[in-house]
Each structure stands twice: as C-alpha cells, then as structure tokens.
Symmetry: C2
Subunit: 211 residues, 2 copies
DNA sequence: GTTATACGGAGAAGTTTTCTCCGTTTCCTT
DNA sequence: AAGGAAACGGAGAAAACTTCTCCGTATAAC
C-alpha cells in the first residue's frame, strides 16, 4: 500500500471516530470526509460503504482498548489505579465511538466477536481486581462501567464541546465519577463555574452540532 | 385559549424535549410532530419557526427547574439530600434538553436571562449549602454539577437508549456520580452486566438514533 | 524519468425536511 | 343543542442535504 493511501486511511478512521461520537452512527459520510480533509472519492474508494468503514473503525478500536487494558494492568500494581488508568485511556481512545457504532450498526461476525471478547475479558479483569481489593463497590458491574464511560466521555453536545477542546474536562469528570462527588480522592483543581459554561457557548456563529 | 389548543401545545413541548435531547437541536421538526402525535400544521401554527419552539421550551423548563430546586430545599433539611433530590428531579425534567438547546440555538434576551438567573441562583444555593456542610468537595463547581448532570442524564445513543426505557439507569448513574464508585453511600441494587448491554442493543430492525 | 496508483472537485440522482393549503372535526357560547 | 369560530390532520410542492461517480491532476515508487 502506498504511503499516501495509508495516511488517508488513518485520517479517515480518526475523523470517523470523532464524527460518529458527536453525531451518532447516522452522521453523513460527507461530514467524515470534511473532517478528514480528504475528497469524497478517497473515502468511497477505501471503504465501499458505511458498513465497511464502521467495521474497520470498530475492529481497530476494540483491539487498541484491549491493549490499553493490558498496559494499565502491567503498569499499575494497585488494582484501583490500574482501572483508573484504563478508564482515562479508554476516553482518549474514544471508546464511546466503538460502543455506539458497534452496537448499532454492525452484524457481529466471528472475527468481531473474538476481538470483542478479548476486550471484555481484559476490562473485566481490571474491574474484578479492583472490586476484590475493595476499592470499587460490589454493586457496580461492567455494564455500569462501560455506560458511565460512554456517558462521561462522549463529547458535550453542540457548542458546549468547545469547553472541552483539549479533553481535560472529560478526565476531570471521569475522576469525579471514579472518586465521587462526596469523596476526596485527589484534588480536581479549580472549580468550573457556570459562567464559563455560558461564556463558552455564548459565541455566536457556531452552526451547532455540525462543523 | 381553547382546551384542545392547550393540549396540543403541551404535547408538542414534551415531544420536543425528548427529541432535542436524543437527536440534538437540529432534529427535524417532523420528528417532533410524529412523537407528539399531531399534524405538522399544528406545530407550525403554534410556533412559527424552530426558534419560537425552542424559546418556549427553554423558558418552560428553566422555570420548572427553579421550582424543583426550591421544592428540594424545602423538603430536605439535610443539604446533601436536598441537592441529591434536585439532581434527580432535574433529570426527570430533562434538564439536558434545556441546556443543550438554550446554549446552542438561542439569543438570550432580557426575559430569558431573568429566568435563567433565577434558576442558577436557586441551584447555586443548593450546591453551596451542601458544600458548606462538607458533604460535597470544595473543588466542584456549578459548571461541573450542570455538565455532569447533562452527561449522565442525556439519553444513551441509539439502541442503547432501550436499556433505560424507564429512566432507572439514569438515576442509578446519578447516584454513582453523587456517591462515587469507590464510596458506599447507599446500595445500587443488582449490578448491570455487559451482557445485558449487548442484549439490549442486539435487537435488529431498530433504525438507530431516529424512531 | 516513467508509470502505476491515489487524489480532489464538480455535479447528477436520490432522499429527507420544511412548510402550506384546505376540507373536516372539535370546542365554546348562547 | 345548535351555530360559528377556532383548531386539527393529511397530502404534497419546494428546498435542502446526502450519496456516490467520473475524470483530469498530482504523488509516490522504481
């Protein structure tokens, strides 16, 4: 495969990740194209239809998530810290995009099921260890973990997304979820005020959810 | 105003709330119409354009939120419980819809600013009291509170929304946010497993984010 | 330097969304 | 309970968006 082709592929996949996360799996492929900065023909040449794109995206992402889980377990001896490290990594990898698009748009074939199983097992290991160590309450399951991650790491809707351009807010809020509003499990820094929310969204001329 | 007109108005507003929350402020008004079970003409007669609908929706919702805050403060002597009660009420009122649509689509005029101020003051009172009582960490601000509520109470994307048909999951996850994963501030009941997530989304034939 | 491969833009075809007209139904008044 | 004003729903024209392809130009490998 030629170098520029590989580069385009990567840019399209990354763009698709962001776009599906923001606008759902029905987002126009045209939006992906624009975000990727490539021509429409390039996308359609590489991925014959939406399904092909989605399948490539999900496979890629699930594999990287499993890797991140292994990496977290290896890097942190403390099970809770390992879980925490993974959750933050998953947000950076845009786990939400994989979940949303996977569950919505894809017939799960043999290959995909295998990749998915690997990821689930790895994350379950992380969660189970933290739970056994008594660092995570027993009445929280994988589904909670995954859904809370999806909820918190999804981009904020519309103009609010500008608040979190660098992703810092996602990590902050993941920490809140992890540590709890009433806890004191590590400082969060300066409180975010409501005025800043207003200010960020007050900028006119932003066409909304789209770009 | 005639009784049937008032009834239509209410149904449209409720439907708009759900639809904007699920699909963002660009959702087709036609989707609102279908969900409300009225004809398109009825919507356009009552609200000349999207902006009129959105403005009515937001004004209505902000006022109800302020009410809910007052009610929570009056009903619960303990400041933390009052905050908790409000947060759950806000989710039921679909606060997310107001925030998203307000910040995105609306020029904030005099009237709207006044309503908004009232709501913010009421909620700030709740949060401040809980913080002073030492029940909420000092490094969490109104912005965090609002954004976390938006994040957690937004409907899950696409088919995942079926998991939470009755809203129970939102309340569960709000409690996680409030109490913290590592805390033990009240039992959450049976853990939600990953399999249930898969099962809920595995149902084919669901056209996705739309209805 | 040559050749095969990939690229971007313009635009046709198909789909979705917006918004109005008008005949029928529902509510209020007397 | 009957008349009249007001509201309703459905069909459909017009506009806006999406999808997807053709083809001349640019880029990478040898």
């Amino acid at each position: 495969m030629r170098a520029d082709a590989e580069r385009s592929r990567r840019r399209i996949l990354d763009a698709a990740c962001e776009v599906f996360l923001e606008r759902g799996p029905d987002a126009p492929l045209d939006a992906v194209v624009r975000r990727a900065g490539v021509g429409p023909a390039t996308l359609y040449r590489r991925f014959p239809d939406r399904e092909a794109l989605v399948r490539a995206l999900v496979t890629d992402l699930l594999a990287r998530l499993a890797e991140a889980a292994e990496e977290a377990r290896a890097a942190e001896p403390d099970p809770y810290e390992a879980l925490r490290r993974f959750v933050h990594a998953a947000a950076d990898l845009r786990m939400g995009a994989a979940i949303v698009v996977l569950l919505e748009r894809l017939v799960v074939d043999e290959e995909l099921a295998a990749v998915r199983r690997g990821t689930v097992v790895a994350v379950e290991g992380l969660l189970g260890a933290a739970r056994e160590a008594g660092r995570v309450r027993a009445d929280v399951g994988m589904g909670d973990l995954v859904l809370l991650c999806v909820r918190v790491s999804r981009p904020l809707p519309g103009a609010l997304a500008a608040l979190d351009a660098d992703g810092g807010l996602v990590h902050r809020h993941l920490d809140v979820v992890l540590a709890g509003l009433a806890g004191s499990d590590g400082p969060l820094g300066v409180p975010l005020g409501f005025d800043e929310v207003i200010a960020a969204a007050g900028r006119p001329g932003e066409p909304g959810v789209g770009e």
